[in-house]
């Protein structure tokens, strides 16, 4: 028998705001053995040379952007981010030849004045554009603070019910100065713990009470529970486990209010609340 207690969410749990990455499956989570090397997982080869790419940008913009578009995404000339020549190139050997000699049959002029180093820099700029698209581990959130802070404050103290457990003068004091806005938003929508975060990262310890057939109860932190067994570590640090059919298990559910909000939030509620929390510098 499993029941959830209903106590107040007293701590503002600071889960790491991991950008979840989908596709066929997730990319590996960082930091577990050989897992976590996103570029290796994606098979992207050697990383681009960032310094050369920065120099290359200064060459690309005045010379190439007119035809190949902003960030090489294509205009009258082809998109170079999805270009076979660029994707096959390693260190400028293929890209450099095309730039130096041009493609007269397709209307691309030659650029014979570029030095070998400049051709390398241009190639690395293009490889960086590929990197920023292909390596989804490198994506950055844009400005997510679009909400109305006043409406967020009203929600905090009213419909959201946040002020029942949290205080902007107490546990949330200066919270807006401690975190980036997207981290803040993630932390109140997905505060961590059971079910939150899709099993990523360390979930905070959950308090559990196990009642034995004798009526005696043991309290501790939950280690593991399935349909067959439950195991805990008690306050003295001792490990215990029982078959589920022999005991009653009660897990303290401090985040019930956060979970219930998921069914109630409008997108505007979330954005307004974020805009408000960001002001708590």
């Amino acid at each position: 028998m499993l029941s959830r207690g209903r106590s107040c969410g007293c701590a503002f749990l600071l889960a790491v705001a991991a950008l979840q990455l989908h596709a066929q499956e997730d990319m590996p989570a960082p930091g577990r053995g050989a897992r976590g090397n996103v570029r290796a997982f994606l098979g992207l080869g050697p990383p681009p040379d960032a310094a050369a790419a920065a120099r290359g940008e200064k060459l690309f913009n005045p010379n190439c952007e007119f035809c190949h578009g902003e960030r090489a995404r294509g205009a009258s000339g082809p998109n170079l981010v999805r270009s076979q020549v660029v994707l096959d190139d390693e260190k400028g050997e293929a890209i450099g030849a095309v730039v130096a000699e041009g493609r007269p049959d397709k209307g691309m002029p030659a650029f014979p004045a570029f030095t070998k180093d400049q051709l390398y820099d241009l190639a690395e700029y293009l490889h960086m554009q590929v990197e920023l698209v292909a390596n989804r581990g490198s994506y950055k959130r844009l400005n997510i603070v679009t909400g109305n802070a006043q409406a967020g404050e009203a929600y905090f103290n009213g419909a959201g019910g946040c002020s029942a457990c949290h205080s902007v003068a107490g546990d949330l004091a200066h919270i807006g100065g401690k975190f980036q806005p997207d981290q803040l938003q993630n932390q109140f929508v997905w505060p961590g713990g059971r079910g939150f975060g899709g099993g990523r990262g360390a979930a905070p310890a959950e308090k559990v009470t196990v009642t034995l057939p004798s009526g005696q109860s043991v309290t501790g932190t939950l280690r593991r529970i399935d349909d067959f067994n439950v195991s805990i570590r008690d306050s003295a640090g001792d490990y215990h486990s029982w078959p589920r059919e022999a005991v009653r298990v009660q897990i303290e559910d401090r985040l019930a209010a956060h979970r219930q909000l998921l069914a109630k939030y409008t997108d505007a509620d979330i954005h307004n609340l974020t805009a408000y929390l960001v002001t708590l510098k």
Binding site: H22, G45, A134
Partner: protein, 536 residues
Amino acid sequence: MRTHRLAVIVASFLAAAALSGQMLNPKALLKPPADSWPTYNGDYSGKRFSPLTQINSSNVGSLALAWFYRIMNVGPQRGVGNPDIKSTPLMVNGVLYFTIPDHTWAVDARTGEEIWHYGWQDKGGHLVGNRGLGMYGDWLYFLTPDCWFVSLNAKDGRERWRKKIADEKMQYFCTAAPLVVKNHVLVGVGGDAMDVQGFLESRDPETGDVQWRWNTTPHKGEPGAETWPDPDAMAHGGGMTWLPGTYDPELDLIYWGTGNPNPVFAGQGRKGANLWTASIVALHADTGKMAWYHQPSPHDTHDWDNVETPILIDGLYHGQPRKMLAQAARNGIYTLLDRTDGRSLVTKAFVGGNWMKGIDAEGQPIPDPAKQPTVDGSLVNTPGGGATNWPPPSFDPETGLFYVNAKEGYGLTYLTDDDPKPQGYGGGGGTGFSEPVLLALDYQTGGEKWKHVYPSGGFGNAFPGILTTAGKLLFTGDPSGNLVAYDPATGRILWHFRTGTMVSNGPSTYLLNGTQYVVVAAGDTLFAFKLVERPQ
């Protein structure tokens, strides 16, 4: 003495029979799997329902480990770590054939002894998983992460030939199990990062050459082009074909699910329904010409690949016998179609659904523009990664229930590329909230017959598949590293075994020398179970 000699002769005969060749009789592909498991789903229907009854609900309590095989010889895989077996082994003539990315093994299905191992050195591609092999006569087929189509001799694992399917430098990667249909080997591709075009190819089983190719997105002027803004968007529109489909020999149609469109989360550069991405398509087996399509996730912007197994059901629909196709998709939609013409019978959300405004006249969801990914985050009542994913579902014709491991919950999706011409993923999901469940759906309505809520969280996007049997059993894994047998009619738990890590493939079963085995993978280990004492 005489009896002893006879025993030796009988034993020699049995051994000779077992060693008479690895050849797969093509007729084995046309019947429900019993003394073999000759294709990814066991048979062409995708039901993953076995007629075997030796292991059944009255004796499953004495089901015990027969052997296990642990991968010890490949080390950590690039960017992934410990090997994870996601393939469903083929079982043909007493030999199991299974894969992980870059590797194939043949193992004795009775003892777990390794017969041979084939290793591949990739030059790129994702090692996210490999779903297994196809077999034709004496030949095996598998796909490498860098999209080589490789044929091996089943006898010794020697390579016959290799053919290039797609370019890993364009960020294609291959994970699919090839599907053999008549003299066609059907191979699909994956690849989301660089906005490439999805396709399905039929290859010659003897030479590996292309017989036909079907592109997921149309070219200029072709039907479907009206659902894209311009030829460039179509050419870079995605729609990968990374899970094996199913096949109806009577209609001679293959059924395939297609992946999400590209750019993945950023739909502003591809306004329209984006056919034939995120669809179920019926193709003529000999030509690849499309017979019909149905699109469960029009203009997808949530990475909801619609590749999940399209299961073929022959049964009653409102009292009339009908040839149907059922799918539980990553977007949380259960679809039931008439598979002769693709006509919609049921469209019903089994998880979530606030991302759609309704259902159109063809039974296709109408996405709500307000619930597409936004720069500041848009909340959907479907967990990040979707309601389910590739792990195989099952249909039990005796209970009439469609079983799927799913996740209920919420996700926030963000747009990170707001350029009018976005590229790649262009966005992503937040961490999300999800609770894993095992659902039993009435195939005629999509309604929930029973639900098992797993007490611990932790389904990512790879989780256990499902097997049902005429022994009135449903086998699947839980998130906590147990293989569990349920009563498929009620969801009552009957048996379990702790595999230690979460079951990582779809369980399968076969009868070998009179003994029924259940085989399942958990991480780097294949486990085989049989009854402690064979019933008399």
